[in-house]
């Protein structure tokens, strides 16, 4: 742990009625870092995000974000502290338009009184315009989000994530179901976001992870198996055993 860390997970254990979804997991993230997290099914990748965002309370251990403990805080409070999350399957508000979706994400403060009394601020409208350009949805601004294609939905959710201006972005499988071209664009987008923001990407797609060109943490059975660059982990014997698979003899 050092001063430059944005997030520290210390000995996190999550037990679902005896089943250890996470087992003494330790992970540190530096400010501005882009980190990829991979691991086989059931390794605890989504539970790991659930613990950070407050959906699941760890049985043991500590989550320190910007020097504050997140354990026991409500989800919306954690979100307001600066943790944003993109879900595995795109979770956008399908009955609202693209613009309304983005309004929900960029609005601050997020109190009922502010929402019902005041109209949206000019700077927030500018932010929406900017986001629409980044994710290429400017022409769809008044369409119902439910009418977008799968790729566009993924991008809208990423735009909503960025619009929340979180210090830490947790991105769960952003390229599931995207075309190769969209995958490449997404990788570039996430890379450009890091630096200013800290980004954690969870994915299965090795090509995509390689393109992110970042440090990789490999999860297995609820704990961090190995950390390092893509080259290092690809040579790691433990990783090969559990995840990448041994070459056929």
């Amino acid at each position: 742990m050092n001063n430059n860390d944005l997030l520290n997970l210390i000995d996190i254990t999550v037990s679902f009625e005896g089943f250890l979804a996470l087992n003494k997991l330790n992970l540190n993230l530096e400010k501005g870092e882009l980190r990829a997290v991979i691991g086989p099914n059931g390794a605890g990748k989504t539970t790991f995000l659930d613990v950070i965002t407050g959906k699941v309370k760890p049985t043991k251990g500590e989550v320190i974000f910007k020097g504050k403990s997140l354990v026991g805080r409500k989800e919306h409070k954690i979100a307001r502290l600066g943790v944003g999350r993109k879900f595995q399957s795109p979770r956008i508000f399908e009955n609202l338009t693209v613009k309304e979706n983005l309004e929900i994400s960029v609005t601050t403060p997020k109190s009922p009184l502010n929402l019902i009394n005041k109209s949206i601020k000019g700077e927030q409208l500018n932010e929406i315009e900017r986001l629409l350009k980044i994710v290429n949805l400017a022409q769809k601004v008044d369409s119902k989000a439910g009418s977008l294609s799968h790729g566009q939905k993924q991008w809208l959710e990423i735009a909503m994530l960025v619009g929340q201006k979180p210090d830490l972005m947790l991105v769960d499988e952003p390229v599931a179901g995207l075309t190769d071209e969209e995958t490449d664009l997404t990788a570039d987008l996430l890379k450009s976001l890091s630096g200013e923001n800290t980004v954690v990407v969870i994915d299965h797609d090795m090509e995509f992870i390689r393109r992110l060109d970042s440090n990789v943490s490999v999860l297995n059975q609820g704990t961090v198996l190995c950390e390092g660059t893509m080259e290092t982990i690809q040579k790691d014997k433990k990783v090969i055993d559990v995840y990448l698979g041994r070459p056929e003899d």
Partner: protein
Amino acid sequence: MSFSKIKFDKKIVLSFWIILIALIIAAPTLLPVFRLNLLGRYLSLSIVALGVDLIWGYTGLLSLGQGIFFALGGYCAAMYLQITSSSEFPNNIPEFFALYGVEKLPFFWEPFRSPVFTFFAIWIIPALVAGLIGFLVFRNRIKGVYFSILTQASLLVFFNFFNGQQKLINGTNGLKTDVTELFGQMVGSESMQRLFFWVTAILVIASWFFAKWVVKGRFGNILIGIRDDEPRVRFTGYNPVIFKTIIFSIAGGLAGISGALYTVQSGIVSPQFMTVPFSIEMVIWVAVGGRGTLLGAILGAVFINYAKSLVSEALPASWMFIQGGLFILVVTALPEGVLGWMQGDGPRNLLQRFGLKRKIETYPSLEVNNKEGNNE
């Protein structure tokens, strides 16, 4: 595109309003007082339906306990009317107390001597009770069918409590209002009923505009967000508990106003307002009219109730079957209600079924490409 709205021409909207206002002004002279009174009662029910639409249609909270707040509003109005008209009775307290040997007015009746207090109590008390129940339920993340069951259970608790309190509020007999006086006139008199009709009509329109104001813009979008994906709203930094408590409280306040108007026009408030079927009927009005449309709630409440009285006059005892059938029809064939169906693709699909061709929505560029494709 289930919630898309038809854009009406401004002239059509304007003429609609002129006709509507003309009808409201003319109704008391056109209709016999019996029919007018029925219409007034059904219009007042449309206010509670608006509340149901806000919490169910927009926010996804299916409350089966709106009768609680409806009855509370009714009791507030009736208590005021009873106490201000009790000067000739023993001890200057409402007549029914004498039946149970009560000589001193229970303390909570006292503030209802004041018309100002009553005016606010009619909507603030139900709104506070709804806010309290709502907050406790929502804070514990009780939702879906458990929320519905809980609201129904609360309804039964209130029903049984009110039923048993003869010495406080005349228990199961309820409080009569038609022989009380307001502004020196009998509440049940023809001129007063005419006045109540106008008050109701104005309040229905006012409530409708208020509800529209609540759901327009970002506040309403958060409500829809909570309905469709509550955890997502939470992870975006909003606290759904507050939003749900506010909207449930608003629906409670509307129910209170509705209950008060209904009470003065039907002449009595009693625990019967808190029976289980009545609160379920409120949900049916909204389901049939169209969830999430507001106007559908008003139309549903008025038309179903009017149909109920017409059918009951012609074929007594058959109404329950018709109402049940209507509900099944809506759930299976028109899940978005009549208005939702009209605003959606319903009419076009129907025309198509009768052999009329339906225009396919497509991108202009696609059509151009197709032509190019044919040329090749």
